[in-house]
C-alpha cells in the first residue's frame, strides 16, 4: 500500500513549507491523477492516520481527481474519461498523455488566527 508512504511524504512536504506547522495545518489540497494508480479514498485515510500520529488535529483532506490529459496529433488538447476515447476534433485516437499520472500536493491552508 504505497498510499501510506505518499501520505507521509505529503505531510512532511507540508510541514517543511514556510509558515506551516503541526499546530496550524488545517487543510491539504491534493490533485490525484486518474492514471496514478493511487486510490483517493485510501490516500485520505492514510493522511488522517499520519496526521494523528504526529499530533495534528482537525486536518481536512481535499482531493481533486484529475482526468487524463491528452494531446492529439491534430493539435487538440483535451481531458478524457479514459485514454481510449476519440479526439473530439478529428475522431482519431493518436494522442500523447500529457497529464493524469501524478499525485501532488497543490496547496495547504493554515489557521492564521483570523477566520
Amino acid at each position: 500500500m504505497h498510499e501510506l508512504s505518499l501520505a507521509e511524504s505529503m505531510i512532511n512536504t507540508a510541514l517543511r513549507t514556510d509558515g506551516v506547522g503541526a499546530d496550524n495545518l488545517r487543510v491539504l489540497n491534493i490533485k490525484c491523477g486518474a492514471l496514478s494508480g493511487v486510490n483517493a479514498q485510501t490516500l485520505e485515510f492514510c493522511i488522517q492516520i499520519v496526521a494523528e500520529r504526529l499530533g495534528i488535529e482537525n486536518v481536512s483532506v481535499v482531493i481533486e481527481e484529475v482526468r487524463p490529459q491528452l494531446q492529439c496529433s491534430c493539435g487538440q488538447s483535451y481531458n478524457a474519461e479514459d485514454i481510449f476515447s476519440e479526439c473530439p476534433r478529428c475522431g482519431k485516437t493518436q494522442h500523447r498523455i500529457t497529464g493524469g499520472k501524478d499525485v501532488f500536493l497543490e496547496s495547504v491552508e493554515v489557521n492564521d488566527g483570523q477566520s
Binding site: 504505497h2 501510506l4 508512504s5 505518499l6 507521509e8 511524504s9 505529503m10 512536504t13 507540508a14 513549507t17 514556510d18 509558515g19 506551516v20 488545517r26 487543510v27 492514471l35 496514478s36 494508480g37 493511487v38 487524463p68 479514459d82 485514454i83 481510449f84 485516437t93 493518436q94 494522442h95 500523447r96 498523455i97 499520472k101 501524478d102 499525485v103 501532488f104 500536493l105 497543490e106 496547496s107 495547504v108 491552508e109 493554515v110 489557521n111 492564521d112 483570523q114 477566520s115
Partner: protein, 219 residues
C-alpha cells in the same frame, strides 16, 4: 485561514530509493527492464529463451510471493538470477531491488531484467529505477487487457504478446490489442512471440543487441 501554494509531487520512500537505483544503473551503464504481467503469462519463459539464445550479458532479479523456483529456472540456463521472495507482497519495491544490487556485478552486466510479481496493478506504479517498463501479455488471457489496465499500459515502452502458438485455439484480435497498446503508449515496441516454441524473437534479439551496444559504448 491562509492558503499556501506548495505544488510538490508526492515522492514516497519508494520514489527516493528508485532514484538511487537509477543513478547506480546509469553509472554502470546497465539497461534495466521491469517486466510486468499476469501470473503465468510467460515472464520467466521469455527470460529462459533469452538466456539460451542471446549473447548480451544479462542478469535477472526475480520476484515471487513465495519460492525461488523461477530464479532457478533462469540460473539453469546460465543467466545470473537473484530471487526476491516478497512473502505476500504483490509487487517489488525499489528498496528490495536496492538491497539486491550489492550482490550483482553491474560492471559485467549490459541488461538487467527485473521479473516483477505476477500482477497487472500494483507493480505498474512502483518505480524500481528501471529504464523501461515492459508489459507481458499472453494470448489465452484475452484481448481486453490493455483497456482494463491503463495505468500499466500507459507506461510500457515494450510489450510482449506471448503464447502466439495458441492463437488457433483462442478468440484473439491481435490488431485490436496492438492498436490499444499504441493508443495507451505511442511508440511502444511490440514483440509477438511464443516463448516455449521459440517463435518471433528476431526483433527482440535486435532490440537487445541495440541496447547492448548503447550501454557498451558508455562502459
Amino acid at each position: 485561514m491562509a492558503r499556501v501554494n506548495v505544488d510538490t509531487p508526492a515522492a514516497g520512500k519508494n520514489a527516493i530509493a528508485a532514484e538511487k537505483n537509477r543513478r547506480l544503473f546509469r553509472e554502470n551503464h546497465v539497461f534495466v527492464m521491469n517486466m510486468i504481467g499476469s501470473p503465468g503469462c510467460g515472464k520467466t519463459s521469455i527470460l529462459e529463451y533469452t538466456a539460451e539464445n542471446s549473447n548480451v550479458r544479462c542478469a535477472a532479479i526475480v520476484g515471487d510471493v513465495k519460492t525461488a523456483l523461477d530464479a532457478d529456472r533462469i540460473l539453469d540456463r546460465n543467466m545470473p538470477a537473484y530471487p526476491i521472495e516478497t512473502g505476500g507482497g504483490c509487487h517489488l519495491t525499489a528498496v528490495q531491488i536496492g538491497s539486491m544490487l550489492t550482490r550483482i556485478d553491474l560492471c559485467k552486466t549490459d541488461c538487467l531484467f527485473i521479473e516483477n510479481v505476477g500482477n497487472l496493478v500494483c507493480p505498474s506504479v512502483f518505480d524500481l529505477g528501471e529504464d523501461i517498463k515492459t508489459g507481458v501479455l499472453s494470448v489465452p488471457e484475452g484481448d481486453e487487457k490493455v483497456r482494463k489496465y491503463p495505468e500499466l499500459f500507459s507506461r510500457t515502452d515494450v510489450v510482449f504478446i506471448n503464447k502466439t502458438d495458441l492463437l488457433p485455439h483462442c478468440e484473439y484480435d491481435m490488431e485490436k490489442i496492438e492498436r490499444d497498446c499504441r493508443t495507451a503508449r505511442p511508440g511502444v515496441k511490440i514483440f509477438k512471440v511464443s516463448a516455449t516454441k521459440g517463435l518471433g524473437f528476431e526483433d527482440w534479439a535486435r532490440y537487445l543487441e541495440m541496447n547492448r551496444k548503447e550501454q557498451q559504448n558508455g562502459k
